[in-house]
């Protein structure tokens, strides 16, 4: 199987280039792209990428595979057309090969205050939630912050320091929708500008690429509705 992989080591290379690889995969055998990359790393030990859990939970190995963002560890090579073109996640600065600098992505995540805020005195045991209220968090808490969505979003490419991006907004709504959180007004105040939420043009690249099958566009729509209900 043929692979074409983005290579760039700023200490050595003047500019990025694509390196061709060949890997023999026995007939009838399938493997995940991450496993193939690990085998290619045996051919060329300088090939660099992030990975950890190798089962789609940690979100470390997000990359652009044949033009679409996804996790290498849960992408079967049998599903991919040749040559398999692998690039780093688009829109973020490349540190080396397939490793990108996620600082801006995390900065936006930090901005939405991704933790429960409750002004009321803490109960003796725990803050209870009805099953119906818990149900509202489905499709939100599962996000693994792999950045596949935000780095496929043109609005995030053009304004990564101002637009929160789909991943951050999915988490923003996760706390807005939480019955135990009392900072709803403050959270909405922080989002009501022309960029943070409203730079979303609803093109839904985020929904198209999310490896966990989540729907950030829907969450963004819910935030807009909350702002609208408060402002009209």
């Amino acid at each position: 199987m043929r692979f074409s992989i983005y290579r760039y080591n700023p200490d050595v290379d003047k500019e990025p280039y694509m390196q061709e690889f060949q890997l023999e995969i026995p007939a009838g055998k399938d493997m995940m792209l991450l496993e193939a990359l690990l085998l290619l790393k045996e051919q060329d030990a300088t090939l660099t990428f992030r990975r950890s859990c190798r089962e789609g939970v940690c979100g470390s190995d997000g990359m652009n595979i044949n033009g679409k963002n996804g996790l290498a560890c849960i992408t079967h090579v049998s599903e991919l057309s040749e040559p398999v073109v692998v690039r780093p996640l688009p829109g973020l600065p490349v540190i080396r090969d397939l490793v990108v600098d996620m600082a801006l992505f995390y900065k936006q995540y930090e901005r939405i205050k991704p933790f429960l805020q409750n002004k009321n005195a803490a109960p003796a045991k725990e803050r209870l939630q009805s099953p119906e209220d818990r149900e509202k968090l489905e499709g939100l808490w599962e996000c693994i912050l792999c950045a596949c969505c935000s780095t496929s979003c043109p609005s995030f490419w053009w304004n990564p320091e101002k637009f929160v991006g789909p991943a951050g907004l999915l988490q923003a709504y996760r706390f807005l929708a939480d019955s135990r959180d009392t900072a709803t007004d403050e959270r909405l105040d922080d989002l009501d500008d022309s960029f943070s939420v409203f730079r979303c043009r609803t093109i839904m690249n985020c929904v198209n690429v999310c490896p966990k099958g989540l729907n950030p566009t829907k969450a963004i729509g819910k935030i807009r509705s909350m702002l609208l209900e408060r402002g009209v």
Partner: protein, 115 residues
Amino acid sequence: MVKSVTSLGRSGLHDWLWQRVSAVVIASYVLFMGGYFATHASVDFAAWQALFQNTAFKLFTLVFLVGLSAHAWIGLWTVATDYVKPVKIRFVLQSAVIIASVMYFLWGVQVIWSV
């Protein structure tokens, strides 16, 4: 919270809502004009003047002009903040759009009220 001074409204929600409401106004006006041309085989000067002498239509046109100017301002402001990165060039472009929108609107008002 991201601050911006060249946008039309003072909040994201404000611009977003204006963009949508003005789109409905513009669409209604276009549909009305389409209907007008479809039902009037030949539109001569007298018919055209009669249409614009109607106060209701003058108001409709005025609301349409408000919607069009706001829509253009918000839309082109968004395009400029997406694609034009050098601040000086962006400021000049945004100012040009704002001045043009205001000028066209005032000119439109003068034209409508001169009929």
